[in-house]
Symmetry: C2
């Protein structure tokens, strides 16, 4: 037996068609979905992420703007730019591309963008909805967790009552994902670097999400082949210049039921979910104005 | 073997002495810690909770005010009262006592109180710190989770690397507690009504937190006596007019290592932690003004 590859491609294709239709419907009502990315400095990885965002915006008919600021921009000037975008009725979604310059890092970055334009889903008012128990995927929730749920739904995996091990406790992936899965009736164990024996956790789960940030961290010893585990690999590590996941796919492929590839799995789901958040934000604005 | 009773009494005593000292130190600097509870209508349970809060305030030397509003108060008038309290420099902690009247429930209650005066720890800006990974118990975090950590610390239980099962996914207890425990390096499984087999979860954990809200929900079958489980019972259920926990203490006492009694366990820890949040809020104000 070899694991089924849970590729993002068919999900993304379906998503894009749907997003293009919703975008067109909004344009007919006079709203052209528009996002703006605020980039400080010239981080090359950021530039590549931004190209992806721009490309999908163009593909679905949304408008894209880059606000490129110098690395040494003053705090007040930076804050002024974000404030202007928050107030600009022609901009529906704002992303402050991370990382920003050192001297801006002690700003309260997650809460700078107005919650209604926070398509990254990092603002306290948006993450708070995860506490409140929401299972509404049209809300502005963090993109990687939401993208993972869409991927699992597309491939027909049932979350209700399933046991999920999330490995990694970051504020962007592990924690919000564990809450969203809980809201969707999964039973989640959140493990991390201080967990005594991660294998004990992963070998018992039906779904394992690896969000560790270490190339090929998990080999076959992490899985019980009888459990027919579904593996979601969130890793985007660079190994010898190659994008590499947290799971050693070649080593585990005969020991798990299904796995997302890297590249071509969680990454593309995250970007398309960001554009989904943009369109959802505009739909909410359009509804409020009717 | 009979389980050790993890009574709140000695923890609360120690806490109160400490709070009284911190309160006195603040008074010498010209700040008298003052909390205000906003009560809408005449819910008898609310009145009893409020009496507890007032009593502890008086015991540690803080000032207490009750703003008692009629059950049929208008939305705007209600909001006006809260706004006034937010702006009043003589009030450091505000609690909107739940439940409020039906017609006020669709207000964004957790976010009405200014985050710096939110001693319940429900505001998005405060809960957000749990995402960010904080382990700082001087922050305004939700009282029941924080009180449980204080209790476990007092009795010398080590959280780092321990496996904890939290049963119940509420926004007030289960979810924030699971995140706080994660930040303190525990490995947490969050189970709930849709979990296939809760016993499978509880029988493997070193610490079990029952926050289910059903009287005597757990009997000995939920525990593996060889694991010497530590049980935290958050239940405050009324059974035949008696305050009853989620765990059947009499039934489990020879099968677990330690357990919090009900009453006299988590409940008193929650109230004293609320006053701790009040004093912490004033300490932060006092520091900012020096």
């Amino acid at each position: 037996m070899t694991a089924k590859l849970l590729s993002a491609a068919p999900v993304v294709d379906q998503f894009k068609r749907d997003l293009a239709e919703r975008c067109q419907a909004l344009k007919l009502k006079g709203f052209t979905p528009s996002m703006c990315v605020v980039l400080v400095g010239d981080n090359p990885a950021s530039q590549s992420y931004i190209r992806n965002k721009r490309r999908i915006c163009e593909e679905v008919g949304a408008s894209f703007r880059l606000e490129h600021l110098p690395a040494d921009i003053g705090r007040n000037e930076f804050l002024g730019h974000v404030k202007e975008l928050n107030q600009d009725p022609g901009i529906h979604g704002i992303i402050v591309q991370l990382p920003v310059s050192e001297h801006l890092r002690n700003l309260d970055l997650p809460n700078l963008v107005h919650p209604a334009k926070d398509i990254d889903g990092f603002h306290g008012q948006n993450t708070q909805q995860l506490y409140a128990g929401t299972r509404d995927l049209s809300l502005l929730l963090p993109c990687t967790p939401k993208g993972i749920i869409h991927l699992l739904n597309f491939y027909g995996y049932n979350l209700k009552g399933s046991s999920v091990a999330v490995i990694g406790r970051s504020a962007i992936v592990g924690k919000p994902l564990s809450m969203l899965l809980t809201n969707l009736d999964a039973t989640v164990t959140l493990a991390h670097s201080q967990t005594k024996d991660i294998r004990e956790v992963t070998r018992q789960a039906e779904i394992v999400v690896a969000a560790v940030g270490k190339a090929r961290f998990m080999d076959r010893s992490y899985f019980n082949s009888e459990r027919r585990t579904v593996v979601i690999d969130v890793g985007m590590n660079s190994l010898n210049g190659k994008l590499t996941g947290d799971v050693d796919l070649d080593d585990v492929k005969d020991f798990v039921a299904a796995i997302t590839p890297v590249p071509g799995g969680v990454g593309p789901m995250t970007v398309v979910t960001l554009i989904d958040n943009l369109i959802s934000a505009v739909e909410r604005t359009a509804k409020g104005m009717q």
